[in-house]
Symmetry: C2
Subunit: 231 residues, 2 copies
DNA sequence: GCCATATTCTAAAGATCAATAGACTATTGT
DNA sequence: ACAATAGTCTATTGATCTTTAGAATATGGC
């Protein structure tokens, strides 16, 4: 019996620990932060701007995430860069999102009506795309900003932040299929790009998932280049 | 631009929905309930007793879980039985637990010191065990209560609630290896059983994970028999 | 050393959540 | 129809969380 006398209190303690992570992902703001951090390390100020929070508030939320050990800060000069504590955190975020998508009608509606329906790109499709990229059949555009591209992108993709798309168009071969992607399925940058591209007469499609899902699926990732901050 | 004007509000709504599930798993009590429900459908009163809550309080927490669509009630006579809304909920719970185990030192300590260390039973080990069960090499004891056994158990296992272990011992062949299991890695029923069995001279080990992990791994599950409530 | 910048820490307001008690509903047995 | 049982719903209190403001800390440029 020795080990078992305090069984209940130990178990309660365990649930309390699990709840630490639960609490961390129980706030829309913190989920938004995690989502952004899935695309790579960022300084507090940038994060705050991206999720429309005051720096103070963002800092407070980041503290909660830090205390749950989901993110880690790295101080560089006068800036503090936050990043996910491990790959598994992004995977967990995706697991949460997938569960929500299956369980909550409200989430399904976002994906169906707002984004015009996800076409369920299967792992096979992704590998197929990868093969076609390698053979040079398609042009792949990464719509995220350059620092995110530098932190990791689909091999062979070209960094074209949305603002630069019009200028970049002249160097995109008109006879090739174009695939645009950004952060994830709910990111609209690639949607806008596809709208513009098709209006200009391109055969353009959108990668239903984004870079985060690509990386989480274990597909190859290329780093650096094009706006990379040299260490 | 049409679809994109309300991009921010839609995205905020999305995070808010994800947070619904986050909130549901942000309370130790609700996590305890989910853990218990991973072992099968149960009436409110039984759940309340198992997690040491008043029925009223348990009912309130179940309501939150219901609103997050993680559990579903089924009314049968004067009892209300709750169950997980889908397999994926148990999988998500396990994902949360695994993440916590990797990220939070406090959880690792529970598993290391309190339970004497998890020996990391790999998928292969589980399949090996399954083969050995089938060949009749080992006796497998399910320490959970009979209704949980009825809701699903490892094929070939024998239902032996802890209280009945002493009586059951006489029909357990002394020359065979015995493997005991219960709900999951933090369940101590199987620990107690192993202590008793080794004290009596058996070669007894504990399945590091429990039934929930077994089922989540996609291994075969047997249902009914031995204490099953006939429909 | 001094000022500006980036971020965290501390404190305090309002908002939200957990737990309990009492009223209410639905079902079973008599 | 009546009482007993199982569970939910409503309201209340105390606790916890979010947000903002102000003070404090650390870094880099002058």
């Amino acid at each position: 019996m020795s080990a078992l006398t305090s069984s209940r209190t130990v178990k309660d303690a365990l649930y309390q620990q699990l709840a630490r992570i639960g609490k961390a992902v129980s706030s829309p703001q913190r989920l938004a932060l995690l989502d952004r951090l899935s695309n790579g390390e960022k300084p507090v100020e940038a994060l705050a701007a991206e999720v429309h929070l005051s720096v103070k508030n963002a800092s407070a939320h980041l503290r909660v995430l830090r205390e749950a050990r989901l993110v880690e800060p790295r101080k560089d000069g006068q800036y503090v860069y936050y990043r996910l504590a491990e790959e598994g955190v992004a995977a967990f975020f995706l697991a949460l999102r997938d569960l929500a998508e299956r369980r909550l009608a409200e989430v399904r509606e976002v994906s169906l009506h707002y984004l015009g329906g996800r076409r369920q790109m299967t792992p096979v499709d992704r590998r197929q795309l990868l093969a076609r990229i390698r053979s040079g059949e398609v042009t792949v555009l990464d719509l995220r900003d350059k620092s995110e591209f530098a932190a990791g992108h689909i091999p062979g993709a070209r960094s074209v932040p949305l603002g630069e798309l019009k200028k970049a168009l002249r160097s995109v071969p008109r006879d090739q299929e174009v695939v645009a992607y950004c952060h994830g399925p709910y990111c609209v940058l690639s949607l806008e790009a596809v709208q513009l591209l098709t209006a200009k007469g391109y055969r353009a499609t959108r990668l239903d998932d984004g870079f985060v899902e690509w990386a989480a699926a274990g597909l190859p990732v290329e780093r650096g280049r094009a706006g990379a901050r040299p260490d």
